[in-house]
C-alpha cells in the first residue's frame, strides 16, 4: 500500500475536465496551496469547486479563476476577488452561496454516509427557495443534501504514510470534513512522520479516508488580515 505521491502534479494528474472538487481552507488559512498550483499547471477546466471561499486574485482558488478553470463555485463567502466578480457578472462563472455551517455539515454528511441533513440555517431566506422544509419540535428546518466530490484536496499539518492526518490550529476548518467526503482524497502535508509518531488518540482524519499524500515544502501561507496588538491597546 503506497499512498505517497512524488509531488502535487502527480497527485492531481488524473483530475479531468468537469470534475467536482472540494478544497479545504477558510479564507487563505489551511488551503492546499501546492495542489492548487498543480491544478493550474494541468489547465483542467469546467471544474465545480466546493470551498468556503474563492481565494484572492493572485492566490488560492483565485489562481484557478484567473485560468478560467472554474465553471461553478459553491461557497459561503466570496468577496475578496475582483476577477471572481468580473466572471460572475459576465456569466462565465456560476456561484451557489450557502451558509457556512450548512456547507460544513453537508460535507460532513458525505463522510458519515448520511444522504442529507436538516438545518435551520436559511429558513425564510433565499437559501430556502425550492428546498423542502420540515418542522421538528416546533422549529422549521431545511433538508439539505450531502455534498460529494470526485476529489477532495486538503491541507494537513502532519501525516503518516497510512494517511492519518493532523491539522494545526484554525487551519483545520473544512479540511477534515472534505477529507472524509472525497471519493478520492488528496492530502498535502507539511510533514510526513513515521507510523506511530502521531498520537493515536489525536488523529483528526484516520487514514481510511485518505487516498493520496503529497509532502509540500515552502508553504507561502499568505495572511489576509494581518492584525496586531499595539502596545497601548
Amino acid at each position: 500500500m503506497n499512498k505517497i505521491y512524488a509531488d502535487a502534479d502527480a497527485a492531481v494528474a488524473d483530475i479531468r475536465d468537469g470534475a467536482t472538487l472540494m478544497l479545504g481552507g477558510f479564507g487563505l488559512c489551511g488551503i492546499p496551496e501546492h495542489c492548487i498550483a498543480a491544478l493550474v499547471r494541468t489547465g483542467v477546466r469546467d471544474l465545480t469547486c466546493i470551498s468556503n471561499n474563492a481565494g484572492v486574485d493572485d492566490f488560492g482558488i483565485g489562481l484557478m479563476l484567473k485560468g478560467r478553470q472554474v465553471r461553478k463555485m459553491i461557497s459561503s463567502y466570496v468577496g475578496e476577488n475582483a476577477e471572481f466578480e468580473r466572471q460572475l457578472l459576465s456569466g462565465e462563472l456560476e456561484v451557489e452561496l450557502i451558509p457556512q455551517g450548512t456547507l460544513a455539515t453537508r460535507c460532513m454528511a458525505a463522510g458519515y454516509g448520511m444522504p442529507a441533513i436538516f438545518t435551520p440555517a436559511g429558513v425564510g431566506t433565499e437559501v430556502a427557495e425550492g428546498k423542502e422544509t420540515r418542522v421538528f419540535g416546533g422549529k422549521t428546518y431545511l433538508l439539505e443534501m450531502a455534498f460529494h466530490a470526485d476529489f477532495a484536496l486538503v491541507k494537513a499539518w502532519k501525516a503518516d504514510r497510512l494517511g492519518n492526518l493532523v491539522f494545526k490550529a484554525t487551519a483545520r476548518n473544512f479540511n477534515p470534513l472534505m477529507a472524509m467526503a472525497g471519493k478520492i482524497t488528496i492530502a498535502e502535508v507539511e510533514e510526513l512522520v513515521e507510523p506511530g509518531d502521531l498520537d493515536a488518540n489525536a488523529i483528526h482524519v484516520p487514514g481510511i479516508y485518505v487516498h493520496r499524500l503529497v509532502v509540500g515544502t515552502h508553504y507561502e501561507k499568505r495572511i489576509e488580515q494581518r492584525t496586531v496588538r499595539t502596545p497601548n491597546s
Partner: protein
C-alpha cells in the same frame, strides 16, 4: 450618543460569568474589550476555535491562527480547536450563550437582514444565517440610521432576510431596544438623547414611555 466603544460597552453588560460568546466583525468585536475584570468569558470563533485571545504582537502572527474575520489572533490557555462542522454544531445546538452581530436592517418582529444588497456584488452570508437561525440570545450592534439617514429599525426588512424573528435586543448609538408583540421597545436612552429624538429616527413601531433611563455602565 454612543460611539462604537459605547455600543460595545453597553452590549458587554449582557455578559455573565461562564458565558460562551460569538462576536461578529466590526463593533461586535469591540465587546471583547469590555469583559469585566474577573469574569470568565470564552470567545467562539466559528472557523473553529473556543478561547480566542487578543491580536498577536507584531512578528508573532501565525497564518494558521485566524478568526472568522480572517484576522490574525492568539489563543488563551484552555483554548480548543475544532472543525467547522463541530463549530456550527455547537452553534446549532444552542451552546453559545450570546451572539453579537451587525445588521443592515432589523424589523419589528426581530427579522434581520445583513448579508445582501440587491444590485451590489454579493459576497455571501458566511456563518451569519447559521448563527441567527440557532443562537439563543442574539444582540445586534449597529448604527441607528444608514448613510442616507434612513432608519435601520423598520416595520419589516426591505433587504433580503438573513433570519426570521431572531433578534432579541438592538443597541445603536441612540439606545437599547427590546421587542414586544407590537414592535421595538425602547429600554434605555443613550446619554443626552431624548425619546422623541429616537422616535423620529425609528421607522418601525417603537414603544416608549418617554422616561426610559439613560444607559449606565458599572
Amino acid at each position: 450618543m454612543l460611539d462604537k466603544n459605547g455600543i460595545a460597552r453597553t452590549i458587554a453588560r449582557e455578559l455573565k460569568d461562564g458565558y460562551y460568546v460569538n462576536l461578529g466583525i466590526g463593533i461586535p468585536t469591540l465587546v471583547a474589550n469590555f469583559i469585566p475584570e474577573g469574569m470568565e468569558v470564552q470567545l467562539q470563533s466559528e472557523n473553529g476555535l473556543l478561547g480566542m485571545g487578543p491580536f498577536p504582537w507584531e512578528g508573532s502572527e501565525d497564518p494558521d491562527l485566524i478568526n472568522a474575520g480572517k484576522q490574525t489572533i492568539t489563543t488563551l490557555p484552555g483554548s480548543a480547536f475544532f472543525d467547522s462542522a463541530m463549530s456550527f454544531g455547537m452553534i446549532r445546538s444552542g451552546k453559545v450563550d450570546l451572539t453579537v452581530l451587525g445588521a443592515m436592517e432589523v424589523a419589528e418582529n426581530g427579522d434581520i437582514a445583513n448579508w445582501k444588497i440587491p444590485g451590489k456584488m454579493v459576497k455571501g452570508m458566511g456563518g451569519a444565517m447559521d448563527l441567527v437561525a440557532s443562537a439563543r440570545h442574539i444582540v445586534v450592534a449597529m448604527q441607528h440610521v444608514n448613510k442616507a439617514g434612513e432608519s435601520k429599525l423598520l416595520p419589516r426588512c426591505t433587504l433580503p432576510i438573513t433570519g426570521l424573528a431572531c433578534v432579541r435586543k438592538v443597541v445603536t448609538e441612540l439606545g437599547v431596544f427590546g421587542f414586544d408583540e407590537r414592535g421595538f421597545v425602547l429600554l434605555e436612552r443613550a446619554p443626552g438623547v431624548s425619546a422623541d429624538y429616537i422616535r423620529e429616527r425609528t421607522l418601525g413601531h417603537l414603544s416608549s414611555i418617554g422616561q426610559e433611563p439613560e444607559i449606565q455602565w458599572a
